[in-house]
C-alpha cells in the first residue's frame, strides 16, 4: 500500500494526504492507495503545488506505518530525529 507525503510549503513540516483529501501530520490517518490509484493520488497532490514543496509516494503497512526499503528514513520523517526525542512529531506525542 502507498501513501502520499510532502513537506508543507509554509514551514516544511512533514504531511500526508488524508482521506478527505486534506493534509495530516498523522501517518495513521493518511489515505492508502494501491497501484494506479496511488499514481493518480500523487498526480492530484502534485497539481496542488502551492501547498507543499514536493510530494512523493511512500510504502505503508496495513497498520499505517512506513514499510519497505525506506522504512528508516520515513520513520525518522514521521517521528523526528532519533537523536533529539524532544523534537518533531514524537515530541508532541509524548508531551
Amino acid at each position: 500500500m502507498k501513501a502520499v507525503t510532502a513537506n508543507r510549503l509554509e514551514d516544511g513540516v512533514v504531511v500526508y494526504l488524508s482521506n478527505d483529501n486534506d493534509w495530516t501530520s498523522d501517518l495513521t490517518k493518511a489515505a492508502r492507495f494501491e497501484n494506479d490509484d496511488a499514481k493518480a493520488a500523487l498526480a492530484g497532490a502534485e497539481a496542488r503545488a502551492g501547498e507543499h514543496a514536493g510530494a512523493y509516494l511512500i510504502e505503508v503497512s496495513d497498520a499505517g506505518a512506513p514499510s519497505g526499503r525506506e522504512t528508516l528514513r520515513e520513520t525518522i520523517r514521521k517521528d523526528g530525529p532519533t537523536v533529539r526525542l524532544d523534537l518533531g512529531y514524537q515530541a508532541e506525542a509524548s508531551s
Binding site: G12, T71, L72, R73, I76, V83, R84, L87
Partner: protein, 551 residues
Amino acid sequence: MYRYDEFDATMVAERVAQFRGQVARRLSGELTEDQFKPLRLMNGLYLQLHAYMLRVAVPYGTMSSKQMRRLGEVARKYDRGYGHFTTRQNIQYNWPALVDVPDILDDLADVEMHAIQTSGNCIRNVTSDQYAGATAEEIEDPRPYCEMIRQWSTFHPEFSFLPRKFKIAVTAAEHDRAAVKVHDIGLRLYRNDEGETGFEVIVGGGLGRTPYVGHTIRKFLPKKYLLSYLEAILRVYNLEGRRDNMYKARIKILVNSEGAEKFAEMVEDEWAQIKDKDIDLPREEIARINDYFAAPAFEKLSEESAALEEKKAADKDFARWVRANTAAHKAPGYAIVNISLKPIGGIPGDISDVQMEAVADIAEKYSLDEIRATHEQNLVLPHVKKEDLYTVYSALKDADLATANIGMVSDIIACPGLDYCSLANARSIPIAQRISERFADLDSQEELGEIKIKISGCINACGHHHVGHIGILGVDKKGEEFYQVTLGGSGAEDAALGEIAGRGLSSDQVVDAVEKLVGVYRERRQDNERFLDTYRRLGAEPFKEALYEAA
C-alpha cells in the same frame, strides 16, 4: 575584524528584500517549487527531512560577540533553540519556517550576516585557519586574502552558474588547520627562499564520491596576483568543466582528467591574457582591507602567569583542559582557547541558544570580542589572557562547554546524517555519540592523543570521512544501515585519503570496531606516535586483522 562598508550593507539589504518578494510569490502560488528552488538555494535555504534548513555564512569562520549573540537569538526566536556548526565554519538552523526566513535574514543583516554563498553552484563562503591572527605559526594573517576573495566572488556575474559548487580555503601556517589540500582551490601562504611571501596554489582536491588530494599547479604566486590567478582558474573550469553529469562536474574531475600539468598550462595561458587587466586590487584597496585585520592592541604581558600555574596545580580538571583545549598565542601572556562542541555523548557541532549567548559574553569580556568557528565543528576564542583562563574555563564549564577533548578520539566530525538530511543513507550522529561514550574517560583519551574520527552518512562526504584517521561512511544495504571503515586518511599538511578496511559493518559492530583499531594502536605505538603515525609505520594489515578477526 572586517566591517561592512556601504556597498556590503546595501547589497545584503537588497538581497533580503528581493528574497522577501520571491518568498511572497512562492506562497501566493505565482512561483512553482521548480522555479523557487534555485532562488531559495541562492539564499542558503534547503529542504531537509523534517523542515527547511537555513545555512548562514560565517566568512572564514570569524564572528564578533554581537553576531554570536544574534545567532543565539535567531535560534530561540525562529528555530528550536539551537544551531549546528558545520565543516565549512558555517551555522545551520534545522527548523525555520519559510514564512519566517525573510525576517531571519533581516535580523542577520542587522549584524552584518547573511546566507549568501552557502549553497548553489557558485564560489562558496571562503574558509580559513581558525587560529588566524592569533597563532605564532603563521607568517601573516590569512583573513585579508579571504576577505578579498569574498568581495571578488560575491555575486561575481561570470561565476554564478558554475558547473558545480566551488570551495576555496586559505591558510598561512605550516600546520594546516584549513584542509587546503582537499578543496577545489587551496591557498597556502608562505615565504620563499628569496624572502618574499606568496601563495602555493593547490587545485582539484575534494572529497565526495570521487575523492582526490589536490595538485599544486603553481609553487609560488606573488600575493598581488591573487585575484587574477583565481579568475584564470575559474575561467578554465567554467568553460571546460563538465555540465552533462553532476557527479563529474567538480573541478577535481577536470584537473585529473586533463592532468595537473596540462591544467596548469591552460590556467597560465588564460592568466597571461588577463593578469594586467585590472582584476587585481590596487595597493590602496589591499591596504584598506588589511587595516580591518590589524592585530588588536594586545597588552604587554609576561609569557608566564603565576595565577594560572597556581590554579593548574590546585585544579586537576582545569589543568587537563588547559593542556587539551588551549594553544600557543603569538602575543606573550595570551592563549588561544578551543571550545569543544563535542560533549561526551553529545551531537557534534550542536550548540543551544543559551550557550551561544554564553560564548558571546565570554568573548566580549575575555577574547577581544572575537570568536571563530572551526571546520572540525568547534569554536575558538582566539585572544584570551593567560591570567583569565581560569575565569573563562569556569564560565565555559557553567555553560557545559568545557569538555577537554580537542583533537582526541571523542572530538568527532559527523554530518547530520539521516536524522536530518534528505541525501543521507544512514545515521551519523548516533555512531558519533556511541563512540564518544565508549571512550568517555578523559584520562585515557589524553593518553591516546590525537585521533581524528570523521563520519559521513552518505558518499557526499560532508563528514570528511575520507580524511579521518579513522573514517566511517554510512551506507544503505537493502534498507539497513551499514558502515564502511577507512583508515589512514588526513586532511592536514600530510593529506591522504583513507583506505577502505574491508566489508561494511552493522551499526552494532562499528563502535567495537573502532575500539579494536584503537587497541592495535595502543599496543603497537612507539614513543609519542599518533594513531596515524603508527598506522603509517605498520601499514593496514594489523588493523584489518584486528577488525575482521574471527568474531
